[in-house]
C-alpha cells in the first residue's frame, strides 16, 4: 500500500497531457472560433503576455540581472512591425519622414516578426555596455530610463512615428493561431537554450558570479547575449501586441506596461519559464474577473461607486504579499508546464497502458487522501 502514497497526480503523464496540453488546446480552439470575439481577445492577450513574461524571465530569473525595460523592446518591435506591414499609402500619410524604400515595403506579418525581433535585439546590443556595468537595482533603474528615453523618441520624432498620436490601422493579422504558433516555437527555443550548456552557465552566473568566472564563464558575453535574446522575443511580443490592438503609441510602452510584465514574471516565478506562463495567465484573467466590480456593483442592494483601478490595487497588494511570503513566485523553480509540452513522454503516454494505470492510481490516491482529511 505504501508505494501508492508516492504517486502524485502531477507526476502522471496522462494527467499532464490532459491538463496542460489538451485543455489549453481546447480552450484555444474554442476561442479561435470567433475571430474578434471577447474570449478570442483574452486568449490572444494571454498568448502575447506569456511570450513577454517568459522572455523577461530569461534575464530576471535565470541570469541574475534585473531588467525593467521590456516595454522599450516591445515598442521597437511594434513600431518596426508597423513600418513593415502597413500599406505604402498609410505610411506616406502618417509617417512622411520615413525613407522611401521603407515606405514602399510591405511584408506579411510572419517574416516581419523576425525583423522586429532583430531590431529589438539591436537596441539591446546598443545599450549593452551600461547594462553589463550596472548591478542590482541600479540596473533596474537604468532600464526604466531606457523606457523613458524610447518613449520620448517615439513621441517627439513625429515625422517617423506620428508622435504621441501613434500609428493607427495596423493590419489585425495576428490571429490566435499565429500568436500561439509563435509562442510555442519561442518557448521551445528558450527551453532548449536553458537546458543547454549555455543555459547552465547562465544559471551558474546567477548563483555565484565569482565562481562562474573561475569556471571560465565569460560574464560579459553571457550578459549581453541573453539580454539581446530576451529583447528579441520582447520585440516579437510587442509587434504581435500591436497587431491585436491595431493602434500603437508611446504611452502604451511606458512604466505601466513594463511593470505589468515584471509583475507577471514575479507572480508566476522568475526562475521558471512556466512561471512566466502562469503569471501571464494570472494577470490576464484576474482583471477580467474583477472588471464587473470596477464599473459599478450592487452589494446587498447598495450600489457601490465605480471602483476604477480596483484590479490594479488588488494586483499590487497581491504582488507585495507574494514577495514577502513566497518570493519564488507561484511556480517557484518548477518547469512543469514546459516539461510537459516538450517531452516526448507526454505524447507517447496515450499509447502506453502503464500510463493509464499510473493515472488511475494517482486519482485513487488523491481521493483516499481527501477522504482521510
Amino acid at each position: 500500500m505504501r508505494h501508492m502514497e508516492k504517486i502524485r497526480l502531477r507526476d502522471s503523464n496522462i494527467f499532464r497531457l490532459i491538463c496542460f496540453v489538451l485543455a489549453p488546446l481546447i480552450i484555444i480552439i474554442m476561442a479561435g472560433q470567433k475571430n474578434g470575439g471577447y474570449y478570442n481577445g483574452i486568449v490572444c492577450t494571454f498568448g502575447i503576455y506569456a511570450l513577454l513574461a517568459a522572455s523577461l524571465n530569461l534575464v530576471n530569473g535565470f541570469s541574475g540581472m534585473f531588467s525593467m525595460g521590456h516595454a522599450a523592446f516591445m515598442a521597437v518591435g511594434a513600431y518596426t512591425s508597423a513600418f513593415l506591414t502597413l500599406a505604402p499609402q498609410q505610411k506616406i500619410n502618417m509617417l512622411p519622414g520615413l525613407p522611401e524604400w521603407l515606405q514602399n515595403v510591405q511584408l506579411p506579418l510572419l517574416p516581419a516578426l523576425l525583423i522586429c525581433g532583430l531590431c529589438a535585439a539591436l537596441l539591446a546590443l546598443i545599450v549593452a555596455f551600461p547594462v553589463v556595468r550596472f548591478k542590482g537595482h541600479y540596473l533596474a533603474v537604468a532600464t526604466l530610463g531606457l523606457v523613458v528615453i524610447v518613449r520620448s523618441v517615439l513621441d517627439i520624432e513625429g515625422d517617423v512615428t506620428n508622435g504621441a498620436r501613434g500609428i493607427t490601422g495596423l493590419p489585425s493579422s495576428a490571429s490566435i493561431w499565429l500568436i500561439f504558433g509563435v509562442l510555442v516555437v519561442s518557448l521551445f527555443i528558450m527551453y532548449r537554450l536553458l537546458s543547454s550548456a549555455y543555459g547552465r552557465s547562465l544559471i551558474a552566473m546567477r548563483d555565484d558570479q565569482v565562481a562562474a568566472q573561475t569556471l571560465g564563464v565569460n560574464l560579459t558575453a553571457k550578459k549581453i547575449s541573453i539580454f539581446c535574446i530576451s529583447a528579441f522575443f520582447a520585440g516579437i511580443g510587442g509587434a504581435l501586441w500591436g497587431h491585436t490592438q491595431t493602434v500603437i503609441s508611446g504611452q502604451f510602452f511606458y512604466f505601466n506596461m513594463s511593470f505589468k510584465i515584471v509583475q507577471m514574471s514575479i507572480i508566476g516565478g522568475m526562475a521558471s519559464l512556466s512561471g512566466g506562463l502562469l503569471g501571464a495567465l494570472f494577470i490576464t484573467i484576474v482583471p477580467e474577473l474583477l472588471a464587473p466590480l470596477e464599473s459599478g456593483f450592487v452589494l446587498f442592494s447598495y450600489p457601490l461607486p465605480d471602483l476604477y483601478g480596483l484590479s490594479n490595487i488588488i494586483m499590487s497588494v497581491f504582488l507585495v504579499v507574494l514577495i514577502i511570503y513566497r518570493r519564488q513566485g507561484l511556480m517557484g523553480n518548477s518547469e512543469i508546464l514546459l516539461d510537459t509540452f516538450f517531452s516526448k513522454n507526454t505524447y507517447t503516454s496515450v499509447f502506453k497502458k502503464d500510463e493509464y494505470k499510473h493515472f488511475a492510481k494517482a486519482c485513487i490516491n488523491l481521493c483516499q487522501r481527501k477522504k482521510k482529511s
Binding site: 533603474v141 523613458v148 518613449r151 490594479n312 497588494v317
Partner: protein
C-alpha cells in the same frame, strides 16, 4: 539671447530645483540607511497634495493648518508603507524591495485614481500667495519666495539635526554600518521610522510647492518629479544630504536651461534628458558629486 531671459530661466530652474532637492533629500536619507530606492516617495507627495486639496477646498481650513495636517497624513502613509511593505523585506535582495516600492507606488496612484478620478483638479492658492514682487527683472510671487525660504530653512534644520542631535548622529552611524549601530544599543527600527517620517514630511512640503507652481493636481503628478528627484539624489551622491540639494538644484537648473535655450525640437526631451544624465553618472561616477562610497 537677452540676459534677462537667461536669468529668468535660472531663477525658474532654482525654484524647480529646490523642489527636486527637497524630494531628493527624502530619497537620500532612506537610501543611506536602508539602501532602498523608495519609488513610492513621489506618490506620498501626491497623497499629501490631495490631502491639502481636501483640507483647503472642502474644509476651508487656514493654510498653516492645511500644511501641518497634510504632513501628518503623509508621515502616517510613509510609516505604514515602511511597516507593511519594506520592513518584512529587510533581508531581501535590493531588486525585491525596489519591486515592492513600485507596487506600492502603483497602489497609491490607483487608490487616488479611484477616489478622485484622473481628471486634473485645480489647486488654487489664496490670493496673497500669488502676489508678485519684482526684483530687478525677476518676478517672484509670494509662493516662490516661500519655496526658497522653506528649502533654505529645512536644509539648515536638517543639517543641525543630522550633526548635533543624538538621533541625527545615530542616522549617520546607521547609514555607515548598520551592524555596528545595533551594537551601540541603537534601535535601528526607530531610526528608520524617523528617516521615513522626515522624508515623507518633506515630500508633502515639496508637493505643496509643486502644486502651487502648476496649479493642478492629478494622481500621477508625483511620479515623474519623484523619478527626477531620484536622479538628482544619485547625481549629487546618494546618501549625502548636501549632495541631494546640489543634485536637485543642478537638475532643476539644467532642465530649465535646456528647455529655454535649446531649439524646440530638443526641448521635448526634457524627461529623457534627466535619465540620460542619471545613466551617465552611474556609469562614470556612481558615487555622484559629493558621494564618497562606492555604489552601483
Amino acid at each position: 539671447m537677452p540676459i534677462d531671459y537667461i536669468i529668468g530661466q535660472l531663477v525658474n530652474g532654482l525654484r524647480l530645483g529646490s523642489i527636486y532637492a527637497i524630494v531628493a533629500i527624502g530619497y537620500s536619507i532612506v537610501y543611506g540607511i536602508l539602501k532602498l530606492i523608495n519609488f513610492a516617495h513621489g506618490d506620498i507627495m501626491t497623497l499629501g497634495v490631495y490631502a491639502m486639496l481636501i483640507f483647503m477646498t472642502m474644509l476651508g481650513l487656514p493654510i498653516w493648518m492645511v500644511i501641518i495636517l497634510s504632513m501628518m497624513i503623509s508621515v502616517c502613509a510613509g510609516l505604514l508603507i515602511e511597516r507593511l511593505a519594506y520592513r518584512p523585506l529587510r533581508s531581501a535582495a535590493e531588486e525585491t524591495t525596489l519591486v515592492s516600492s513600485l507596487a506600492v507606488s502603483t497602489l497609491l496612484q490607483n487608490v487616488l485614481l479611484m477616489i478622485f478620478s484622473a481628471q486634473k483638479q485645480a489647486f488654487l492658492l489664496p490670493d496673497y500667495m500669488t502676489e508678485l514682487h519684482t526684483i530687478g527683472s525677476i518676478h517672484l510671487s509670494t509662493m516662490n519666495i516661500i519655496t526658497f525660504a522653506s528649502v533654505a530653512v529645512s536644509l539648515v534644520v536638517l543639517i543641525l539635526v543630522i550633526h548635533k542631535t543624538r538621533i541625527g548622529t545615530a542616522m549617520r552611524a546607521c547609514s555607515e554600518n548598520l551592524t555596528a549601530a545595533k551594537l551601540m544599543g541603537i534601535n535601528i527600527n526607530k531610526v528608520i521610522v524617523f528617516a521615513f517620517a522626515v522624508g515623507s514630511a518633506l515630500a508633502c512640503m515639496a508637493g505643496f510647492m509643486l502644486a502651487g507652481e502648476y496649479k493642478t493636481v492629478d494622481p500621477a503628478m508625483g511620479f515623474v518629479p519623484g523619478l527626477k528627484a531620484f536622479c538628482a539624489a544619485v547625481l549629487g551622491g546618494i546618501g549625502s544630504l548636501g549632495g541631494a540639494v546640489i543634485g536637485g538644484l543642478l537638475i532643476g537648473v539644467s532642465e530649465m536651461l535646456f528647455a529655454g535655450l535649446m531649439p524646440t525640437t530638443v526641448t521635448a526631451y526634457r524627461d529623457a534628458f534627466v535619465f540620460v544624465v542619471l545613466i551617465l553618472v552611474l556609469l562614470f561616477k556612481p558615487t555622484g558629486i559629493l558621494g564618497s562610497r562606492e555604489r552601483a
